[in-house]
Symmetry: C2
Subunit: 266 residues, 2 copies
Amino acid sequence: MKKLLNRVRKCNSLLCVGLDSETSKLPKKFLKTKHPQYEFNKWIIDETNKFVCAYKPNVAFYESRGDRGIRELKMTMEYLKRQHNNIFTICDAKRGDVGNTSQNYAEAIFDWLGFDAVTLNPYLGAEALEPFLNRKDKVSIILCRTSNPGAGEFQDLRTSRGKVWERIAWNVVTSWDKDGNCMLVIGATYPKELKRARAIAKNMWFLVPGIGAQGGSIKEAMKAGATKEGGLIINSARNIIFEKTPGDAARRLKEEINSFYPLPGS
Amino acid sequence: MKKLLNRVRKCNSLLCVGLDSETSKLPKKFLKTKHPQYEFNKWIIDETNKFVCAYKPNVAFYESRGDRGIRELKMTMEYLKRQHNNIFTICDAKRGDVGNTSQNYAEAIFDWLGFDAVTLNPYLGAEALEPFLNRKDKVSIILCRTSNPGAGEFQDLRTSRGKVWERIAWNVVTSWDKDGNCMLVIGATYPKELKRARAIAKNMWFLVPGIGAQGGSIKEAMKAGATKEGGLIINSARNIIFEKTPGDAARRLKEEINSFYPLPGS
């Protein structure tokens, strides 16, 4: 978490760029290279690094190319480590399995790929995710209220004490986060829920997907969830990486975020 | 589903072997080869294929070796397709992401790796999993009541109409399974819940992990959940693949399962 906080302060930005580098959407010039996803990511990183606190590749876009994609994700991580070691890295993998298996996922993501953080699915409970949660040097980002239109099917079921997603937020805050290494995922597409989550988890950092293509508003997200220290990592993928000038798109988004929330030092 | 049913009848077995080929547990002779996980899997498949209806590799054990592991999982799938194309294959990946991303996971698992079925996490709802559910040629196996000790943390929360996991079973049966291509995961470690799941999902097939190392009993699982056609795929991994004679272990387990349930034709 220190790495994230330092980076947020240093670059004065809450913007995270989603490296969802779907091969079919890459500009042609990259498709001709030996490592198209890696070369594309390198270009995006070179253009946008000044404006971001974090990068977040979603592994699905690499796994769909098999071992070649995974190899290029690893090359991307090595490039980041070499060139921009102070930028926070999030593996958007939404993993969640029994303990023995979670241990292997943790090794794949934290050790082999070298990420600082991972997104996790809470459905199996804290006991199953211990191999992630016990890594005090890494950050576990727990799915809570997701950004998709059908998120409410189970997340909004009412229990005796709040909805299912509120119980998850509550349990993460009160018992999972014993080492101060947890965050929550709350979609920008649901600002009311974001406000409620902030009431439950007063000082916790949230990863906020869903602005832009999915329809979430930066203004409403910042109003509902920002804290004194920032408190939100605002993710944007398609609206930055598939623009002609991704650097300009990232700068504009960073400025828009900050216009609703003058960060310390800005 | 037809492929599964045909195989169950043909080999008269409900046994699934979990190819959880954790490198640190492989016999030394395989570690010396160029493709240790592939060579090990090949040996396990050669020894056990007569006794099984399905194979289920958990991808975590391959991802922890990076692109090499993924490559060897693919080689394993190619071997199965070549040698035993009638055996049902399940990718234990527990994926669940927003629609656009699920599409990429579906391509990775169904098309690139070539699996017949995948395990999925329902927390994001049916809308997010449509790219899997819409594949009528493939089977979606939805996590419902998992086998781990801490499974109840959220799965057992009471809602106005049953527990969370019961609502998931109910929704899958009544609306997700419109093409008859869904199954549920119910752990053998919870026979009471298995019985209850059978009451909700009368004819649906369940994937049942948790016997052996995790403590679930075959007898109780069969009593609680078997149907006329079988209805259960009983998974075993460590207790077969890390035995000295995996073929004997698989045959014994198949016979034990059948002793509680004479399948048609046995």
